[in-house]
């Protein structure tokens, strides 16, 4: 049996030095930056509202799509 299982919701790991704009630029290259950032943030409120000094970490999951209906 193949070990390929489709994720329930698309996601990525952040890369070193990533912020919302760099992730938006990479994941949604054809979209207006601010609109893509707004979508990303709305899908990842747990990261947006994570209190300082705990920012995004390399082991975090960043959703690149909305919750499944």
């Amino acid at each position: 049996m193949s070990a390929s299982i489709t994720p329930q919701r698309p996601w990525i790991y952040p890369r070193e030095g990533d912020d919302w704009h760099s992730i938006a630029g990479r994941e949604f290259p054809g979209r207006p930056a601010e609109e893509a950032v707004a979508d990303l943030q709305s899908w990842n409120l747990y990261l947006v509202f994570r209190p300082a000094p705990a920012g995004m970490t390399p082991s975090d999951i960043v959703f690149t799509g909305p919750p499944a209906a």
Partner: protein
């Protein structure tokens, strides 16, 4: 001549097979014979009187890492029938830790596991650095068996120093961590623990959360070399995040041929769909060849608190949180300030609940008062007292706290994992392991002991969710199998004689009580056992209901089944 024979027992052998009436014999700490009848004599013969004879329980999620260095019995776990505890969960261990990192590690442990600083500082000798030295520091004083995971955060700290808290590791540093993990596993570590959740005492992610996916993959490759397990804390309150984490664990399990266990699988009124979704994902990953073990606790969450120490009950209420983070004198001043009081009261009724918990202030119970004229309030809810006095329950709580100099103790009861109807199915699921008990942690917030007895009283006797044999299997054979403890968990000839005699009609946890038995004159909450008659560790009587704890120290350091082959 055997050392011990237990006759006339109802034998549940840890496999889940039907119980039968029989006997068991022990020689030199091991099970010598078991069956419906055993001929011969023994130095000690016990008539079980039809009580259940089972393998000693295994508690797979504990944090006795500090306590075990001053209390080789891991009290009170042993009296609940637990003969093996697994320490070192959630990326936090007391080794390997360099001398210069002891302050940091202690602070993190005290923060996350809520161990009082005075007790930790008075009890810890810190006369070790390496994993091998740590195990040697308490090996000879054990009255209970102890297995310990190596904490991912500790590996990073050892290799990277302060940078472990700041950045991903270089390839060279990852290679050093791999070698350090091999060293820990050779010394007796059961596996690796990590976390995607925890924060330290400065509200920063614990070091393992700075690890890149490649780093975790490299460490799992080492676990694969040794056939060792990985334990992890995922975002247990969010269905989407948890399912994505289960996929990650599935990939790691298949790629390296390892078992991974996540804890907790936690039910909450905020996300009632979480457990069914997570289990469906685990089932899918299992079908694709992964070995993923979700751990579910048996008890609901009760939290006891005073206002002189911050507690997570208030973490999503900013005014409360900011107020109780201040020094006590300032907190008291804020509680008296009319403007701040108004904000506190409003926020008590209009704020998000903390993750996976439902916190209703009027339902808080006054647990303990310090002034004699308030003693009559103990055991009553704020709502009840306030109704009698014609005041607001939150105002009442603030008044009590001020009057008693913040020493009044309140309890928030059943704030999470408390819906029996939703939990009985999942906890009985063959894929789900009973765990996440947290023994040795949160000692001034709630008693983490007696989850084993509660499995029988609540889920076997009350709910009828599983049979006696299945419950025993879930606390013994299933855990031994999942965690690679080949020598324990079953009643079979040749295995270690970790044994438990209990009354199936009465085994339970007692009420939560405060006891002042921590180093540094500290107190903690514990529960005494009910229905546990005798506990044997490696063939020796370690606890009996009649005589209490025995003097013997037959506990062992337990490592995984496959480590020695590597």
């Amino acid at each position: 001549m055997y050392d011990l024979i237990i006759r006339n027992a109802r034998i549940c052998d840890g496999s889940g097979s039907p119980a039968y009436r029989g006997a068991l014999a022990v020689s030199e700490g091991r099970i010598a014979a078991i069956g419906t009848r055993i001929d011969g004599d023994a130095r000690t013969v016990v008539d079980a009187g039809g009580r259940v004879l089972a393998p000693g329980f295994i508690d797979s999620h504990t944090h006795f890492d500090a306590q075990i260095t001053w209390d080789g019995l891991a009290t009170p776990s042993l009296e609940h029938g637990v003969t093996t505890v697994i320490n070192g969960n959630c990326s936090l261990t007391m080794a390997p830790v360099r001398a210069e990192h002891r302050g940091f590690v202690g602070a993190v442990f005290r923060q996350i596991e809520e161990m009082p600083a005075a007790a930790f500082d008075a009890g810890m000798r810190w006369n070790w650095e390496t994993f091998e030295e740590y195990l040697a520091a308490f090996r000879d004083q054990l009255g209970i068996n102890v297995a310990t995971l190596a904490g991912h955060s500790m590996l990073r700290l050892w290799v990277m120093g302060e940078a472990a808290r700041e950045r991903a590791a270089s390839s060279g540093e990852v290679a050093q961590m791999q070698e350090l993990l091999r060293e820990c596993l050779r010394a007796g570590a059961l596996g690796l623990s990590t976390s995607w959740v925890d924060i330290d005492h400065e509200h920063r992610p614990v070091p393992c959360r700075l690890a890149s996916p490649e780093e975790l993959d490299a460490l799992c490759a080492v676990l694969g070399e040794f056939g060792a397990i990985m334990q992890v804390v995922p975002e247990f309150w969010d269905p989407d995040l948890l399912c994505a984490r289960i996929d990650i664990l599935g990939d790691l399990s298949r790629r390296h041929g390892i078992t991974v266990s996540f804890s907790p699988l936690f039910d909450s009124n905020a996300t009632p769909e979480l457990v069914p979704r997570a289990l469906e994902r685990v089932r899918l990953q299992t079908a694709y060849g992964a070995r993923i073990v979700p751990q579910m606790q048996t008890r609901p969450i009760d939290v006891t608190f005073e206002f002189d120490v911050p507690t997570s009950v208030f973490s999503t209420r900013p005014t409360w949180w900011m107020t109780i983070l201040k020094p006590a004198a300032q907190t008291l001043a804020d509680f008296r300030d009319p403007v701040i009081r108004k904000q506190l009261v409003e926020e008590a009724y209009n704020a998000m609940h903390p993750i996976a918990m439902e916190v209703h202030f009027p339902d808080f119970v006054v647990r303990r008062c310090h002034l004699p004229h308030n003693k009559a309030l103990e055991g009553r809810t704020l709502k009840d007292i306030a109704g009698e006095r014609g005041c607001d329950p939150v105002e009442l709580m603030l008044d009590l706290a001020v009057e008693e100099n913040l020493k009044t103790c309140f309890s928030a009861m059943a704030v999470g994992h408390n819906n029996l109807e939703r939990i009985t199915g999942p906890i009985s699921d063959p894929l789900v392991q009973v765990g996440s008990g947290d023994g040795g942690a949160h000692v001034t917030r709630f008693a983490t002991y007696g989850d084993t007895g509660y499995l029988f009283s609540c889920f076997v006797r009350e709910a009828g969710a599983m049979s006696l044999e299945q419950a025993v299997y879930k606390l013994t054979g299933q855990i031994a199998h999942n965690w690679g403890l080949a020598d324990r968990g079953f009643l079979r000839p040749g295995l270690a004689a970790d044994l438990l005699l209990f009354d199936p009609d009465t085994i339970d946890r007692g009420p939560e009580i405060a006891v002042a038995d921590l180093p540094g004159d500290g107190y903690r909450y514990v529960r005494r056992a009910r229905g546990v008659e005798q506990v044997y560790v490696n063939g020796q009587l370690a606890y009996s209901a009649e005589g209490g704890y025995a003097e013997c120290r037959e506990g062992r350091i337990v490592s995984g089944a496959r480590q020695s082959a590597a």
